[in-house]
């Protein structure tokens, strides 16, 4: 799962933009075991990682635990990160793995069954503005079976390809495509 290499200090590409260059610096510090660099990387990535964990789990406490657990694994494996992009992909993959392992271990029924829709307001309900529409979509996503939710979140919000989703969720690429299809149809029904 971790796919880390343990080699010499990574070398940033010379034409990297400034923000990326700063991330290379932080990564180098992390590899040297410097906590401030680690904190810098945490601050840089926490929103995206927590967002992913929250959208996958639908639970604040679980998303916080996954986020912390992922970063503790980053520290554990700090010497192996070769580039900011490698770190980003690794963070995402480990977060998905941690989440799906939790569901399989503790709540396997959630993978393919829908969450209760009782708390889901009708689409276009009183608030009726863009924020309300967004909330409707968030709640509709949360109501999907966990596997469908994960595929649509990873494909549409985080831009993963089916092959990457399949690898993360332990399914075939074909199953990922079919699940996306089902998820979109179900979302449309929920939001109707």
């Amino acid at each position: 799962m971790l796919e880390l290499s343990w080699g010499a200090e990574p070398v940033p590409p010379s034409a990297a933009p400034s923000l990326d260059a700063a991330e290379w610096e932080l990564l180098a510090g992390l590899r040297r075991g410097e906590e401030p660099a680690f904190e810098g990387l945490y601050r840089e990535h926490r929103g995206r990682l927590y967002g992913l964990a929250y959208r996958l789990s639908g639970r604040q406490a679980e998303a916080e635990e996954i986020t912390q657990e992922v970063f503790l694994k980053v520290w554990e494996h700090r010497a192996g990160f070769e580039s900011p992009d490698h770190l980003r992909r690794w963070l995402r993959r480990v977060a998905v793995n941690l989440w799906i392992n939790r569901v399989r271990r503790h709540r396997p029924a959630e993978l393919d069954s829908e969450a209760a829709l009782a708390s889901l307001p009708a689409a276009g309900s009183p608030q009726g503005d863009a924020a309300a529409a967004r909330l409707d979509v968030e709640r509709a996503l949360a109501a999907l079976p966990a596997r469908q939710r994960a595929v649509v979140v990873l494909f549409d919000i985080y831009g993963l390809r089916h092959e990457e989703i399949a690898e993360s969720l332990g399914m075939t690429g074909g199953a990922s495509k079919v699940t996306l299809h089902h998820a979109r149809r179900r979302l449309k029904e929920i939001l109707r």
Binding site: P17, S18, L19, D20, A21, A22, E23, E25, L26, G29, R32, G33, E34, E35, P36, A37, F38, E39, G40, Y42, R43, E44, R46, G47, R48, Y50, G51, L52, Y54, R55, Q60, A63, E64, T67, Q68, F71, L72, W75, A130, A131, A133, R134, V137, E138, L141, V152, F155, D156, I157, Y158, H162, K177, V178, L180, H181, R184, R185, L187, K188, L191
Partner: protein, 217 residues
């Protein structure tokens, strides 16, 4: 009457599975235009997919998770703060530069602003004002604390670090003014208000980091 082409229903399924490449997608969407029922269905799905894709990938945790992480790092493995200050400054510079260039991606890009003279909050929408109220006090306190710390320790800093620090402080001030000016131009934009909140929060985090690093030199 426009009879559905035999393959359009299959194409719709393939499109919903995310299987079509750009060219195939264009062909499918063009074909769908010729079938009113399919056109309506495609429009509904495009709207749905658009709504999902417009959700921000980043969500700020309700509390700072760093202390819980830091507490579980073995103390003997932590190293050097001197380097960290420079790294923090580089990050700050990178972010501020990105702000000026509008380079944080479509969801986080403030519109160009000509006026950069704002030093006090401009006229803001209620949402933006609320965001400003939540973040501005914290930022002001941190900025003050940072400046005090730096003033006390400035002589101990290497010349290059000192210069970098001052350049970054100036850059951050300019970036903040530009975002506020953009908000003044589009005070009703919830997206811009969200960008503003996220940006303020990131700047606060960076300043905190720089401040902590400077304090430990």
């Amino acid at each position: 009457m426009n009879a559905p082409r035999p393959n359009t229903r299959e194409a719709l399924d393939a499109w919903l599975r995310g299987e079509l490449d750009a060219e195939a997608e264009r062909a499918f969407l063009a074909a769908a235009e010729e079938d009113p029922e399919l056109r309506r269905e495609v429009a509904e799905y495009r709207d749905l997919i658009g709504q999902v894709r417009s959700l921000p990938p980043e969500i700020e945790p309700a509390r700072d998770l760093w202390p819980g992480i830091a507490a579980r790092i073995p103390a003997g493995r932590r190293r050097s703060w001197t380097w960290a200050l420079a790294a923090s400054l580089l990050v700050a510079a990178g972010l501020a530069l990105t702000a000026r260039q509008g380079g944080l991606g479509p969801e986080r890009r403030p519109p160009p602003a000509e006026a950069v003279t704002a030093t006090a909050p401009p006229t803001l929408s209620p949402m933006a004002r609320s965001a400003y109220a939540q973040t501005d006090q914290a930022l002001a306190e941190i900025r003050l604390q940072l400046r005090r710390t730096v003033a006390e320790r400035e002589a101990e800093l290497p010349e290059s670090t000192r210069r970098l620090l001052h350049e970054n402080l100036d850059t951050i001030e300019r970036a903040i003014a530009e975002i506020e000016a953009a908000l003044a131009e589009r005070p009703q934009s919830p997206e811009l208000a969200r960008t503003y909140i996220a940006y303020r929060q990131r700047q606060i985090d960076l300043l905190r980091q720089v401040n902590r690093a400077a304090a430990r030199l």
